[in-house]
C-alpha cells in the first residue's frame, strides 16, 4: 500500500485530531483548522480525509452523544492511534533533517 505517506492536508487533519484530544469530530476539526491554519475547508473534504485516515489505521473512532442541534444524529469522535502518532513523528523528523541540510548561506539571503 502507498498508505503510510501523508498528504499535506491529511497531515493537517491528523495533527488537528491529535490536538483536539477527545473532542475531535468532523465539525470541530473543521473549525479548528479554520482557527489555527486560517483555512476555510468544506466539510466534505474533512469527511473524506477523516474516513480515509481511519481506513489507513491512523485514526480510530467511536460514537458519541447526539444533540438536538444535530437532529438527533450521533457524532463520530476520532482519536489518533499509535500508528498515526508514529507517522506524524516520522514526517516531522524528515522535515527537520531536511531543514538541517539547508546551507547557512541561504538563510541570510532570505
Amino acid at each position: 500500500m502507498k498508505g503510510t505517506n501523508l498528504g499535506e492536508f491529511e497531515e493537517l487533519v491528523l495533527l488537528t485530531v491529535a490536538s483536539l484530544g477527545t473532542e475531535a469530530y468532523a465539525v470541530s476539526v473543521k473549525s479548528s483548522i479554520a482557527e489555527h491554519a486560517n483555512r476555510i475547508v468544506n466539510i466534505s473534504a474533512i469527511h473524506s480525509s477523516l474516513y480515509r485516515l481511519e481506513d489507513k489505521g491512523f485514526l480510530t473512532s467511536e460514537f458519541g452523544g447526539a444533540t438536538s442541534k444535530r437532529g438527533g444524529k450521533q457524532k463520530r469522535y476520532f482519536r489518533i492511534t499509535n500508528t498515526g502518532l508514529v507517522a506524524l513523528q516520522q514526517s516531522k523528523d524528515l522535515k527537520q533533517q531536511l531543514w538541517k541540510t539547508i546551507p547557512q548561506l541561504s538563510f541570510q539571503l532570505v
Binding site: 468532523a26 465539525v27 468544506n42 466539510i43 473524506s48 447526539a66 444535530r70 444524529k73
Partner: protein, 890 residues
C-alpha cells in the same frame, strides 16, 4: 430555542441528495455534521445563505460517493459488461462462418448505404453553397397560346427582371445572364470558350461567386469589363493576378475586353457555371438604337436571359407569382390580347433547378439531375440496409436452438432475464460496430471505383462532416437495436426447465417471422433485379431507337468565329469543301447552324400565309446548306431538298414533320407548295423531312424549320467513308488552318457528342446495377446462413430418411423446397410493385419500352438460380452425408 431548532431544517432536496450520496452506514453521522454546521450558519448569518451553503456542501460531498461504500452494484455491472464482451467475442470466434456472414452482410449493407447517402446528398447539395439560397429564385418564362403551354423555358426576357424590381417590393435585386460562346484571344493564345455569360453586376453580389482579385461591387459596372474564372486566368496568363489585362472576344460581337476581376472557380455543384462574365453594359452598347432605345434592357420578346431574383426573407413565391401575374396583365394585357399569347414568369427556387427542372435552355442541360432517380436510390439504400439487418435477425433467431441450452444453464445459475437481454444486445452492438468499421473501410477503398463507375465526384471528405457521423451513429444504434432486440427477447424467454430437458421445439411464431423476413428480402432483390433490367433496357432502347439520321463516321468542326468579311464566307467555304472532298476518306461536307445533339436556341415566328398576324407561332430554326440532309441521311417524307438548280430556293423552306403538325397541315404531302410567313416574308414549303431526333430520344421532337442558309458557319460536318478518323482529322486540320487562319481547330466526333445526352441515364443505370448486386449478395449471405442451419437442424430427419432408402436427389429437393416456396411468394409480391414503379419512371421518356413479362420471369429465375446455388452447397453436403453420423450425433 429548541422549538425553533426543530422547525428549521435544511432544504429537503439537499437531505434527499445526501442520502443518495452516502452509504447507509455513515449517512447518519455525516448528515448530523452537516446539519450542525447548517444551524450554526442560520444563527450567525441568515437562513437563505445557510440553505444555499448547505446545498453547496451536499454537492461537494458527491466526491465522497465511494466513501465506505461496499462495492456492490456498481462494480458488478462493469464486471458484467466485461463478461458480455468476453462471451460475445467467444461466440463470434466459435461460429466463425456465421459471424463472418453476419458481419460481411451488414458491412456491405452499411457501405452501400453510405455510398448512396453520399451520392444523394451531393445531388441535393446543388446551389446550397449560396448564402442566399433560400431566397434566390430563377424567373421561368412560359408562353400560352389558345390556353396551351407553348414555351416552357428556363431563360426569360431582358425586361422582366428590372420590371419585377420596380413593381414588386419583395424583390431586393435581380441579375441576368445571357449565355454565348466564341473565341477568346490573348496575344496568340486563343481558345473557343463555351461558358461565357453577359451578366448584370448583381450576379456576383447576390450569388456567392467570390472574386479572388478585383472588387465585386465595381467589376461589372462599365462596358467591356470581364470577370474570368481562376482556371481561365491560369490558362491564358499562367497566373491569377491579371486584373487590368486586356483580352479579345470574337463571336457575333467582337469585343476588346478589360479584365476587372478573377473569380474563384465555380463549384461543381452549381447549376450555373461560367468561365467569363462580360458586363451587361457591353451588350447594351451593342444593341442601343439611334432613337436611344435599348432592346437588351427593354425587350419582352427575346428569351435567352437567365434571370434571377433575390427576394426578401420570408417572401412567399406562390403569392409573389399571383401578384406578379396581375401586375403583368395590367402592364401588358393589351399586347397579350392582340397577339393571342399570354406570358407568365413564375419563380423557381434555385435549389430546385438541378433535380426538379427540365425546361428549354437549361444552363447546363447535360448536367441536369433527376429528382425521381435520386429518390429511388434513397429508397434502395434503405432497402439494402434493412435486408442486412434482416439477415442478422434471421441468423440469430435461427441459432436459437443452439443457444437455448446456454440460456437454460445461465438461468439455472441465477442469471436474470435482463442480463440475458443485455448479453444478446451486446452481441448485436459489437457485430454492428465491427460492420460499421468494415463498411467505412469498404467505402474508403471503393470510392474511387464508385466514382469511375458512376461518373460522380464524391470524395472521402465526408468523414470530416459532423452530420455524416450523426447519421452513421444513428444507423449504428438503430441497426443494433432493431436487429438485436428481437433475438434478445426471443432467446432470453426460454424456460430453463424445458430447454434443459431437451424438449425445445422451434418456436412457431419465430419460424413465421423468419419466413416473412426472407420473403421480404427476396421481394426486394427481385424488384431491384427487375428494375435494373428495365432501366438498362430503356437505355439501350433510347440509344438504338431510330434516330432518323446517321451519326456514324461523322466529324464536326466548329465554324470560324474570326472571319474578315461575311460576304467572302460562302466562296471560302466552297473552296474549303472542295479541298476536303479531294481526300478519298471524306464523303461529303456540309455547313449548318446546328448539328444533332446541339440544343437549338434560334427561334422566330411563323404562320401560315393565310392566317392573321396574331397567329404567329414561335418555331425553332436550324439553318442548313444544300448538303445537310444527304450528309446526315435524313429522310425526306415529301417534296425535295434544296437544290442549286432551283434559283427560287431563297424563297423556299423545308420543315420537319413536327412543324407540319404544328402548323396544322394534314400530312407532309398536304404541306408541300403551301405558303408560310417566316422572317416576315412569304415562303413556299418545298420539302418535309422526317422527325429526326435533334435532342436525343428522351425528349419530344420540337417543330423545326430549316431555311437555306449556305453561309451558316457554326458547324462544319464531315461525313467520312470509313471510321478512319485519324487521316480525315489531319487533312481537315491542315485545310481548316489554311482557309480560316486565326481560328482554333475545335472539333468533336458526333457519336460521342450526341451520346453524352444519355450520360445521366447511363450513370443512373450503373448505380442501380451496382446496388442491385449489393442487395442480392447481402440477401444470399443471409440465405446461405439460414439454409445451413436448416440443414443442421434436420440432420436427424435426413439420417432417418436415408436409412429408410431416400435418394440423395429427393433429400436435396426437400431441403430446397421450403426456400423455393418463399422465393416464389416473394416474386408474386414484387412483380406488381415493380411494374407500377417502373411504369411511372418510363412515362418520363418520349420514347419508352413497354414492360414485358419476360423481365419478371428472368428476374425471378435469376433469383431462384442464385438461391439454389446458395442453398445447394450445404444441402448437397448434408444429403451426401452418411446416415450413421447423422443418427449417432446425440
Amino acid at each position: 430555542m429548541s422549538k425553533t431548532q426543530k422547525d428549521i431544517k435544511p432544504p429537503r432536496i439537499g437531505i434527499y441528495l445526501l442520502r443518495k450520496i452516502y452509504d447507509r452506514k455513515i449517512y447518519d453521522e455525516i448528515s448530523g455534521d452537516l446539519q450542525e454546521i447548517f444551524l450554526e450558519r442560520v444563527e450567525t448569518k441568515n437562513r437563505l445563505l445557510a440553505s444555499s451553503q448547505y446545498l453547496l456542501d451536499v454537492l461537494l460531498s458527491a466526491r465522497n460517493y465511494n466513501l465506505r461504500r461496499k462495492k456492490t452494484y456498481h462494480t458488478s455491472s462493469t464486471a458484467m459488461i466485461k463478461n458480455y464482451l468476453k462471451i460475445t467475442l467467444r461466440t463470434i470466434a466459435k461460429n466463425k462462418v456465421y459471424s463472418a456472414l453476419n458481419i460481411l452482410g451488414l458491412s456491405l449493407g452499411i457501405a452501400a448505404f453510405i455510398f448512396i447517402l453520399q451520392y444523394v446528398s451531393y445531388e441535393n447539395s446543388y446551389d446550397k453553397f449560396h448564402s442566399n439560397h433560400r431566397n434566390l429564385y430563377r424567373v421561368m418564362f412560359k408562353t400560352y397560346q389558345d390556353g396551351q403551354l407553348r414555351i416552357n423555358c428556363a431563360a426569360a426576357v431582358p425586361r422582366v427582371g428590372s420590371f419585377m424590381k420596380e413593381k414588386m417590393p419583395e424583390v431586393i435585386d435581380f441579375a441576368r445572364a445571357y449565355p454565348l460562346s466564341g473565341v477568346m484571344k490573348k496575344d496568340d493564345i486563343k481558345f473557343r470558350e463555351e461558358r461565357i455569360h453577359i451578366a448584370d453586376p448583381a450576379l456576383i453580389q447576390i450569388f456567392d461567386y467570390p472574386l479572388l482579385h478585383g472588387d465585386s461591387k465595381t467589376a461589372l459596372n462599365e462596358p467591356n469589363q470581364v470577370v474570368i474564372a481562376e482556371e481561365i486566368a491560369r490558362k491564358y496568363f499562367g497566373r491569377t493576378e491579371v486584373v487590368g489585362e486586356p483580352i479579345i472576344f470574337n463571336s457575333w460581337l467582337d469585343l476588346d475586353l478589360i479584365i476587372t476581376g478573377v473569380a474563384a472557380n465555380v463549384p461543381d455543384n452549381s447549376h450555373f457555371k461560367f468561365d467569363f462574365l462580360i458586363s451587361y453594359e457591353t451588350l447594351n452598347n451593342f444593341t442601343r438604337n439611334d432613337d436611344g432605345s435599348v432592346p437588351s434592357e427593354e425587350s419582352w420578346g427575346w428569351y435567352d436571359y437567365n434571370t434571377y431574383v433575390l427576394l426578401k426573407e420570408g417572401a412567399n413565391p406562390q403569392e409573389f407569382d399571383k401578384k406578379f401575374d396581375q401586375i403583368l396583365v395590367e402592364e401588358r394585357g393589351e399586347i397579350f390580347e392582340e397577339s393571342g399569347r399570354i406570358q407568365k414568369f413564375p419563380l423557381q427556387p434555385i435549389t430546385d433547378i438541378h433535380l426538379y427542372s427540365n425546361l428549354l435552355q437549361e444552363s447546363e442541360p447535360e448536367e441536369q439531375g433527376d429528382g425521381q432517380a435520386v429518390l429511388f436510390l434513397s429508397i434502395v439504400a434503405f432497402f439494402i440496409l434493412i435486408i442486412a439487418w434482416i439477415n442478422y435477425i434471421n441468423l440469430s433467431t435461427a441459432r436459437s436452438v443452439e443457444r437455448a441450452k446456454e440460456v437454460g444453464v445461465r438461468k439455472t445459475m441465477g442469471a436474470y432475464r435482463k442480463q440475458l437481454v443485455n448479453q444478446f444486445l451486446t452481441e448485436a452492438l459489437v457485430i454492428n460496430f465491427i460492420s460499421l468499421v468494415l463498411g467505412l473501410v469498404i467505402v474508403i477503398l471503393g470510392i474511387r471505383y464508385f466514382n469511375q463507375l458512376t461518373g460522380s465526384v464524391l470524395s472521402i471528405n465526408f468523414l470530416l462532416n459532423a452530420n455524416f457521423w450523426l447519421i452513421a451513429i444513428g444507423v449504428f444504434l438503430a441497426g443494433s437495436t432493431l436487429s438485436g432486440l428481437y433475438p434478445a427477447f426471443v432467446l432470453s424467454s426460454f424456460k430453463p426447465s424445458s430447454v434443459l430437458k431437451g424438449k425445445f421445439s422451434g418456436n412457431h411464431t419465430g419460424i413465421i417471422l423468419r419466413k416473412g423476413l426472407v420473403v421480404f428480402q427476396f421481394a426486394a432483390s427481385v424488384s431491384l433485379i427487375a428494375g435494373t433490367i428495365i432501366v438498362s433496357q430503356q437505355l439501350s432502347h433510347m440509344k438504338n431507337v431510330k434516330l432518323g439520321f446517321n451519326l456514324a463516321n461523322t466529324l464536326v468542326i466548329r465554324g470560324p468565329q474570326v472571319f474578315g468579311a461575311d460576304s467572302l464566307f460562302a466562296s471560302t467555304f466552297e473552296a474549303f469543301r472542295n479541298d476536303l472532298l479531294r481526300n478519298s476518306e471524306i464523303e461529303s461536307v456540309t455547313t449548318s447552324s446546328n448539328v444533332p445533339g446541339n440544343e437549338i436556341f434560334w427561334t422566330n415566328g411563323i404562320k401560315r400565309d393565310e392566317e392573321s398576324a396574331d397567329r404567329r407561332r414561335t418555331i425553332y430554326i436550324a439553318g442548313v446548306d444544300y448538303e445537310y440532309f444527304p450528309t446526315y441521311d435524313i429522310e425526306l417524307l415529301a417534296g425535295r431538298n434544296y437544290g442549286k438548280s432551283f434559283s427560287t430556293d431563297t424563297g423556299a423552306v423545308i420543315l420537319n414533320n413536327a412543324a407540319v403538325r404544328f402548323l396544322d397541315y394534314e400530312s407532309p404531302e398536304d404541306a408541300i407548295n403551301k405558303k408560310v410567313t417566316f422572317w416576315g416574308q412569304p415562303k413556299t414549303i418545298v420539302g418535309v423531312v422526317d422527325d429526326y431526333k435533334q435532342m436525343s430520344a428522351k425528349s419530344e421532337v420540337a417543330p423545326i424549320v430549316f431555311p437555306l442558309v449556305p453561309d451558316a458557319s457554326n458547324f462544319f460536318t464531315l461525313k467520312l467513308k470509313t471510321n478512319n478518323f485519324q487521316e480525315a482529322f489531319s487533312a481537315a486540320q491542315t485545310s481548316y488552318d489554311r482557309f480560316f487562319p486565326g481560328n482554333p481547330f475545335d472539333y468533336f466526333v458526333l457519336d460521342s457528342f450526341f451520346n453524352r445526352l444519355y450520360d445521366n441515364e447511363q450513370q443512373f443505370s450503373s448505380v442501380f446495377t451496382l446496388f442491385a448486386a449489393f442487395a442480392i449478395v447481402v440477401a444470399c449471405l443471409g440465405l446461405f446462413g439460414l439454409s445451413s442451419f436448416s440443414a443442421l437442424q434436420r440432420t436427424k430427419e435426413i439420417g432417418i430418411r436415408k436409412a429408410l432408402g431416400a435418394k440423395m436427389s429427393g433429400i436435396m429437393f426437400i431441403l430446397t423446397k421450403e426456400f423455393l416456396q418463399l422465393i416464389l411468394i416473394a416474386n408474386l409480391i414484387a412483380w406488381p410493385v415493380i411494374y407500377l414503379i417502373m411504369d411511372g419512371w418510363l412515362n418520363n421518356f418520349a420514347t419508352r419500352i413497354s414492360i414485358g413479362i419476360t423481365v419478371f420471369l428472368f428476374a425471378g429465375l435469376l433469383v431462384v438460380v442464385i438461391a439454389i446455388l446458395t442453398v445447394g452447397y450445404k444441402t448437397f453436403v448434408t444429403a451426401k452425408s452418411n446416415p450413421i453420423h447423422a443418427l449417432r450425433y446425440e
